[in-house]
Amino acid sequence: MLNNFRARLISQLGRAQANSEIKWMNQFIVDSTGPGAKATANTLRLEDLLRRRVGGEPLQYILGTQPFGQLDLLVRPPTLIPRHETEEWSLKLAKATTPCPSAPITILDLGTGTGCIPLLFATIWPQGSVHAHAVDISEHAVRLSTENALRAGVSTRNTDAKEARNTFTAFRADYTQDKFWEDPRLKPPYNLVTSNPPYIPLQEYEELPPSVRLYEDKQALYGGKDGLDFYRSIGRVLGFPGALASEATIALEVGHDQASQVAEIVERIPRIDIGSLEIWKDAWGKDRTVVARTHEP
């Protein structure tokens, strides 16, 4: 049976990738069955892991974690698995920004999922230099991202910006609602707004590979008929008076062919003055991130 699964995995992924995945599964078994661990070699068998994998389950859900920069994040269905592309632009943004404890900044992450984006910042930047608010419509995501904050040693106390450590607070909220800003847990104005909103259009959603469509939350992926619904919502959210600090950065991940349309939406946000707008490519050469900086009007 084991060899049959192995052969099927090779035919699905190619030899090199299949071998790597088997190696990671074996490593996972070794790590989780050591002395004092709950699992044993009998309850956690390579054969079972392989069966799930060959059946289309994402490797990350099987192993329960995904590395993201220096972080090792917990991942659990149906919350979206952080992607390499997101890791790449988040690291780039983290390097391009240098907050310090004497001038801490506030972040709003719209649709935080595992919490990957703000948690990366909170672990790279010096202590006391960032306070992040992360919202998500999914209760699963709120819980998972809070667990991830604790796992990464980031404080989850929601204080006013006087805390000496970096903080991350996640709560349920729907940013497509008009009364979004009435939520008292939000503390505008924000210096940095990040989002990787659901951006897959209807047609493409139906053609997604099963490991994405059957295992990850539709609510995390589907962006309406043209895939741009959530960018329009974000435009409305950020156009609200006092949402952004006078000098703020907006970073939005976009689908492979959406950069120019999203850039247009951002440029038309009422009441803010875009000083610069960049489109960053990902490692595969696709336009991946729209980064806008405002300056005082």
């Binding site: 992924l13 490797l59 590395p67 992607r83 659901p198 689908g255």
Partner: protein, 448 residues
């Protein structure tokens, strides 16, 4: 005059440099008197003495100049700082020279006391005397040369350790199996704790070991691997593993019981301290092409495959590095840059050595990586190192398994290679220095 502690110290040195004593033994055996010994030593080794003397004189001159600046000039100037820094670098020569001078007068004085009218004095001198010639000889023939020739070029760089790159060579599956055994030998040696035989104390692992990359062969064994050995001195020792390792044995798979010969090629690269800035004096970021493996279609939310493999190409040298062992692309990238940096530094060091060697007559054997450096013969239960004359050790398993004794197992073997290599290095460089000295003095005479 000499405390026991000091004597014990020199005795220890002589044991450690057992192979050097071939040169030293010429002076330590035979029946020459103290004054005869001093005369012999100083005539035979006048050039070493001259070279050390020059360093001492250079230091004295620097100190005088620095003092002049301190009195008449600006002690906060760069010139002053340069002179005092250089002078303090040369202090070791001053110290060694003083030790040598005092050992010499000690020997000569004690020699005269051997025929002192007072029997008590004579007894004291007789007791003291035997330790003195070895001290003097070792200072002149071991301490001076090692000061004149500082250890390998690598020590000029701030090395964090070594990256060992192992590739299977001829012999197919056997070669892959042997590679996994070599890898195990290295990781056990560098990463496992050992026990001091005399004190019974547990000695903590020598270095940190991480397998950075490993490609298993389908039929068992390992096709290639990169292992990181992190820690001070790791490169200076492990670099002696560079070269082709040959194994001779009957593979389990050969039913006819024939002996096969297979090889594994090892390259040991110097690893720099990891720095935050990716770019440094070794390369320009513009010269590095970063590729991710395979087309990913739309990418982003559309795909959740773990495609973390990364390939770097350094265009000026054509060096490529692929890394796919980690699930994180970020980690693979970091690792790939680490390996690239090590390859480039290695290239630089080899170029430095080659340019120095162009003027040299002899070569350190085995510096050429395509050369066979060692044979592991199972039937005869021996390992022979082809660089060091007469170096064959019995008990192959003990070496490969690492037998936990200090100075035993693989550590003992590579230690002997290192000692030999260091000696060759010292001798070669010393030879060059002496030649230069001759030329200079020759010119001086012509000039007169």
């Amino acid at each position: 005059m000499f405390s026991l502690g000091r004597r014990a110290h020199f005795a220890f040195r002589l044991v450690r440099h057992a192979s050097l004593s071939s040169r030293e033994s010429k002076y330590l055996t035979g029946t020459h008197t103290g004054p005869e010994l001093v005369k012999m030593l100083e005539t035979d080794n006048s050039k070493i003495l001259k070279l050390v003397r020059r360093k001492v004189d250079e230091r004295t001159a620097l100190m005088a100049e620095a003092e002049q600046i301190a009195i008449n000039g600006d002690p906060s100037s760069q010139e002053y700082r340069d002179k005092t820094r250089r002078a303090s670098e040369l202090l070791v020569f001053q110290d060694a020279w003083s030790s040598y001078e005092s050992a010499k007068s000690n020997l000569l004085e004690t020699h005269t006391l051997l025929s002192h009218p007072d029997p008590d004095m004579r007894d004291l001198a007789t007791e003291e005397y035997p330790s003195l010639p070895p001290t003097l000889t070792s200072l002149l023939l071991t301490t001076f040369p090692s000061l004149l020739v500082p250890p390998s070029s690598s020590s000029q760089h701030n090395l964090a350790g070594a990256l060992m790159d192992l590739k299977s060579g001829v012999g197919g599956q056997e070669s892959s199996l042997f590679l996994s055994e070599l890898l195990r030998m290295y990781t056990r040696f560098a990463g496992s704790k050992s026990v001091d035989e005399e004190t019974g104390e547990v000695i903590k692992a020598k270095w940190g070991v991480t397998i950075v990359q490993q490609n298993d062969a389908d039929a068992g064994g390992i096709k290639d691997a990169i292992v990181e050995i992190k820690g001070k001195g790791a490169y200076d020792l492990m670099r002696w593993e560079s070269g082709v390792h040959r194994v001779q044995r009957v593979p389990a798979t050969d039913s006819a019981g024939r002996v096969h010969t297979s090889t594994v090629a090892v390259i040991v690269l110097p690893m720099l301290e990891e720095s935050d800035k990716v770019e440094d004096e070794l390369f320009k970021m513009d010269d590095v092409k970063i590729e991710v493996m395979r087309a990913r279609g739309a990418g982003g939310q559309h795909v959740n495959k773990t495609e973390s493999a990364v390939r770097l190409t350094h265009t000026p040298t054509g060096i490529t590095v692929s890394m796919q062992d980690e699930r994180s692309q970020h980690q693979n990238r970091r690792r790939a840059f680490q390996v690239l940096r090590a390859r480039l530094l290695d290239l630089k060091l080899s170029a430095d050595i080659a340019s120095r060697r162009a003027t040299r007559r002899s070569l350190v054997k085995g510096a050429d990586r395509s050369e066979k450096i060692r044979t592991y013969n199972w039937a005869q239960d021996r390992i022979t190192d082809h660089r060091v004359p007469g170096l064959t050790v019995r008990g192959l398993e003990g070496v490969m398994e690492g037998d936990g004794r200090v100075g035993g197992g693989f550590g003992g073997l590579v230690g002997r290679v290192e000692e030999w290599g260091r000696e060759v290095e010292v001798e070669e460089c010393l030879g060059e220095m002496m030649e230069a000295l001759d030329k200079e003095e020759g010119q001086g005479e012509v000039g007169k």
